[in-house]
Amino acid sequence: MSTLLTHIAISDGKIKRSSLEVLSHCKQLAENNGHAAEAVIIDADASNYVDQVKSYGAEKIYTMEDPIFKNHMNTPLLKAFAKVMEEANPHVFAFASTESTKDILGALAANQDAAVLSDVSEFDLIDGGISAKRPVMAAKILSSTEAHDDQILVSVRSGSYDLVENETDAEVVNIDFSFDESELQATLREIIGASGDKIDLSEAETIVAAGRGAKDEEGQNLINELADVLGAGIGASRALTEAGIMDPSLQIGQTGKVVSPQLYIAIGISGAIQHVAGMANSKVIVAINKDPDAPIFEIADYGIVGDLYKVLPPFIEELKKIRN
Amino acid sequence: MEDETFDCIIVGAGVAGLAAAMTLARNNMKFLLIEKGEFAGAKNVSGGVLWGSDLAKLVPNYWEEEDAGWERFINHRRLTFMDDQSTFSVDFKSSHFNETPYTGVVVLRSKFDRWLAGKVEDAIAESDYPMDSFIATNIKVDEILMEDDKAVGIRTGEEEFHANSVIIAEGVNNLLTRQVGLQDDYVPADHVLTGIKEIIRYDQDQLEDRFQLNGLSGMSNEFIGYATDGVEGGGFLYTNRDTISIGLVLGLKDLREKKKSPHDILNHFKSHPVIQDTIKGGEVVEYSAHVVSSGDKRVMPKELYKDGVLLCGEAANLLMNAGKAIQGMDYAMRSGILAAETIVDAKEKDDYTSSTLKSYRKALDESYVMKDMNGFQDAVHMLHSPEMFKDVPNLICDFGKKFFSIKSEPTKKSRKLMAESIKEHSSYWDLIKIGLKGAKSL
């Protein structure tokens, strides 16, 4: 019997849903193959989250608490993860593919001389390792990949698996951690929080995404209004983040975030493959674009060919009506 | 490097520009080949059959290469007349065409141009100027620098580069040709055609079975009649490695007057019962459209040279479309070679003025290019005459229908059948006119 360890990511005082998705999947794999599903929480107050993790089937939960984890810094995190791996000796160590994960995954693999597959959309156990599917070529294509090693790191795209509740009375093991600040070569000087929208796009049920077509103030207002009505998170194409009109953390696509909401409304977005790479897995896609030949219409369930300044006002009104 | 002057700057890395560049490199000239596309061929949607054997001059034994830039060699040709239901083809296939150097190879330009550019790079590396001759892509030439009506270099953005001569090989959309004053700004629409093309992919075995291809042998098929839905022009179908190129060349003016879109006409062509059978089961992987010159001499530039400048390829409107084939690439290739040879000559004489450069015109006139362009003008005009893309095909197909259908009644003599078809589709007089025209022109 070997161990499938899942990292539980915490951001803004909440467990990231995507890491519970990963845990749910690992639990499944563990049950099907007679392995153990375990989880690890590394945070300034890790123990706060234990109970929630218990209800997703972890049989053992490691916690590691230290003030230094308040903010993301790769040096202490690496040290922490290395310690966890020695402690738990997982065959598979699974992560949600967040920016924080991306920051350390390669380094951790190098440090532990472990095999690693990043950003997979699904993975399974095979003997001596894991098999996985990875979107490649700007997510136009899926590659089938295998990793063979006794220790394998894997990071999973958000929305790849459903949450499966599964109450367990997990054993909780605290791994103590000490970090001497003087080891820090890199210094965190400042954190610029995402202005405005706090809804975590990778978890949002509904996303209203704006593109170059909606770059002026009036466009922005309409976007905000629509998002309010739907209680949606606001996303953007590169055209707007690049122009500094929208916060970079809102960019959706190959460079930006990968999202998979129930409803994605693309407004004034052409649908370049690099953007589509980040939102093609949305359940329902609505596109509003004045160019009938815009590629976005090829993937939209509901395509509205028209000027967003003319279409949005009545659209917002209609949705208001439906809402109440 | 600001003050370095080249023997020659070539504008445009299409067939003509690449042929010129290869010739200059082989003759140890110091030159610059400039292409606005991201790479040679990037902007070249066209492609089809490169006729003739000049390619073998530029790249000896190219056919021996593993993955050369060409698709297939032509040993099977077909000219097809269509009405709404039927096709009547003149079909010629011969193993004689299997021998190298081939007399025609099908190319896809994005691949072919890139491959040929690679060959030019090799030639540069072996020349006397491995470090001083260049192919520069993703650079657009904005202006030909003229000093008292002599070309002395080019300008791109803020940068200027000087050369003793400039070869303009910019293709059909010849803005620079006009800038240097070799062509009037206005070219009437009735002398311009538009070519559209779809690439359809098959499983390679399936393709080879369907078109009876053997190894790298290929087929070219031209179409006259229904294909163009009553618009002046013709259709074509070429076999590539595992795709076919199918498309049309259509008169712009006629399109406008008949208010038809090339794309619709292409679908009309593809929906013909016979064509449907021919192309079924493939997947369209590419669609492109591009202007083609009519090959009408009346729109050729006034001259092909002037102090420090030579024009070649389609920039000089060197193209022939006389029904049985489109010849643009081979004309481009030959004219590129001749232009470059003239520059080599000019360097020896150290005289880049018209008095030397005019020998380019002479060489071109003596080559098959101008001989054909002069000789087949009537054919060109005839191809653009309504009878040719309407009455004649209908008539021929109707005759075919009568001739090949076996009914349980006394069979008529074919002469009689012909007579009937002619009555239905045109008067004897028209036919005689076309007959005479045709006889004279082809």
């Binding site: 990043s118 490649v136 970079p248 219409f297 509205i304 659209f315 | 061929g41």
Partner: protein
């Protein structure tokens, strides 16, 4: 300031792709400079122009990568190293990181910059792997770089916001293409690139036996991404369309 920029040649995702027997076929076999690396080169050039120094690019791959290296030189990099592989095998990030680490072992530099990921595989691993192997402080997903006395100040895109991080040299940073718009080489740049020094290094001279490189991960095949069902498209009066679609979202898709 001595910059090393690791650049990778990748297939152009915009070129027609086809899958035959599970293998990827690039119709025109078009290869380009990884967009993220282009941003890394651009930023290194900007800092060099401001603070002086030298920008050297390094690429591991078969001979055809020299085409891509020339592109970086044409942009303005001063010199280049081509670490030669046979090109017979496709390697994973870890393998490239191993090769690069060997190369950097005995080199002097202030900053190594990488792209944050390869445009074709989106792996995003080699950068931090290299940092770990060389034991360098590093930051990934940089959207801005500045010099502040002896420190490299990195603005990186985190999950919810941006972090400003100070790195002492030597250090490693991986760059996002959100950092800048890479310059398009000028004709002069292209001409100069040909005359700039490009050193070719064989793996053996780094003490690496290519036949013994055995990646822990391998791609076993490719498949088309299952496409979405074609949806409904509306053209006409804004009010009507708005009404129709809102209704459908509510009653058909029920996502409101």
């Amino acid at each position: 300031m001595k910059f090393y920029v690791c650049i990778k040649q990748v297939p152009d995702v915009n070129a027609p792709i086809q899958i035959k027997e599970g293998q990827l076929i690039q119709d025109t076999n078009r290869m380009i400079l990884n967009a993220y690396d282009a941003s890394a080169v651009e930023e290194a050039l900007v800092l060099k122009e401001a603070h002086g120094g030298e920008v050297e690019v390094v690429s591991v791959g078969p001979d055809k990568v020299t085409e891509t290296i020339r592109k970086a030189l044409a942009m303005g990099a001063d010199k280049a190293v081509h670490i030669q592989t046979s090109g017979d095998a496709e390697y994973d990030s870890a393998t490239y990181a191993t090769i690069l680490a060997k190369f950097f072992e005995d080199k002097e530099y202030d900053v190594i910059s990488c792209g944050k990921q390869s445009q074709d595989t989106d792996a995003g691993l080699a950068g931090s792997m290299l940092a770990e192997k060389l034991n360098l402080p590093y930051a990934t997903n940089a959207v801005g770089l500045e010099m502040d006395s002896d420190k490299l100040v990195v603005k990186r895109q985190g999950d919810s916001g941006q972090e400003i991080i100070g790195l002492p040299s030597p250090c490693l940073v991986t760059c996002s293409n959100d950092m800048n718009d890479p310059r398009i080489p000028s004709l002069k740049g292209i001409m100069q690139s040909k005359r700039k020094p490009m050193e070719t290094i064989e793996l053996s001279s780094l003490g690496i036996d290519e036949s013994e490189l055995s990646p822990k991960t391998k791609v076993t095949g490719y498949q088309e991404k299952p496409g979405r069902e074609p949806g409904q498209k509306f053209e006409g009066e804004p009010e009507e369309m708005a009404q129709q679609v809102a209704k459908l979202l509510d009653e058909e898709a029920n996502v409101i």
